[in-house]
Symmetry: C2
Subunit: 183 residues, 2 copies
């Protein structure tokens, strides 16, 4: 097995166990066991547990950057807002496994992800402010936070609504989030 394959196998085993048991509840030995190597060999591929976790969740950072990049160009109209929400939701659906780590293990993320966490928080803040709109009334801000929460339902929908396919999740959650924003 080449280096690329082993690295992938490590990330996949780690992601699976992180989701199943939690980040802190999963030791590097357990991950190595699943891959079929020793803990010391795992350290050859990833310098630390934080490094491994970072490699796993960076796709989420890219999704958020992608959304942030269109914020200033998108018109703050019903269609513009729907387009931003759609982009956010599609990104989550494409990376729901990695994304679910953030909601099921937010404490571990905060404790471990030094470099990228501030950027994620800042992007999230920007999206919230943009969604709330120029008036920035308290009610609008609450609705903006709640609308994103609706989209985050995509991360746990597989467990709660297994019969729903991605197209239906996209359509229903997008419509529900727009409703929360009263659009």
């Amino acid at each position: 097995m080449g280096a690329r394959d082993t690295r992938s196998a490590i990330r996949e085993a780690a992601l699976r166990q992180f989701i199943a048991k939690g980040v802190e509840q999963t030791s590097l030995r357990e991950i190595a066991d699943e891959v079929g190597i020793t803990k010391a060999s795992l350290y050859y591929h990833y310098a630390s547990k934080a490094d491994l976790l970072l490699a796993i969740v960076t796709p989420i950072l890219f999704v958020m950057r992608d959304v942030a990049d269109v914020l200033d160009q998108a018109p703050h109209t019903a269609d513009g807002i729907r387009e931003v929400l759609r982009r956010y939701l599609i990104g989550l659906l494409n990376h729901r496994a990695e994304g679910s780590l953030f909601v099921r293990d937010a404490s571990a993320m905060t404790a471990t992800l030094g470099p990228i966490l501030p950027e994620l928080i800042e992007i999230n803040r920007r999206i919230n402010i943009w969604l709330a709109g120029p008036d920035a009334a308290t009610e609008s801000t609450i609705r903006a936070v709640a609308a994103l929460e609706v989209l985050n339902t995509a991360l746990s929908a597989n467990a709660a609504v297994p019969q729903a396919d991605d197209e239906e999740l996209l359509r229903v959650l997008l419509d529900a989030a727009m409703g929360v924003l009263r659009l």
Copy 2:
């Protein structure tokens, strides 16, 4: 300081640190230090870390039981649904500190809360099914999950929307959740 006071002080210090740093990232020594006793003394009051965590989050179990108890009596009409959601949301607002542990540290909860977690999951499932209604179409189920997610926004609203008071959170989130359910 009597036994009752020490026990309360332990729970309060633990809750504060669990929220600030996460359950797994908080050691019993750190909790004992904040209370001003030693770790060994803490063990006199709580038999284990799991025991302490259980004592902290049981109010949430009572809230959920309270909601579950009215499910079968409440009519499945707009008014009946609003009343169930209101009860759920008021319960969360009254115990948002304890409740936020479940969303920020769900993995630790799963790993630690043996006895009560199955009951919480079962109640959550019952509420979802009741909310989705007798048709149980996929879209209705998705909307039910998303509506509860909107209410859960109350748990993080203090950080995201500090200027919102509880009355406004109750009014806006309840309205938003009803909107998600198309009522």
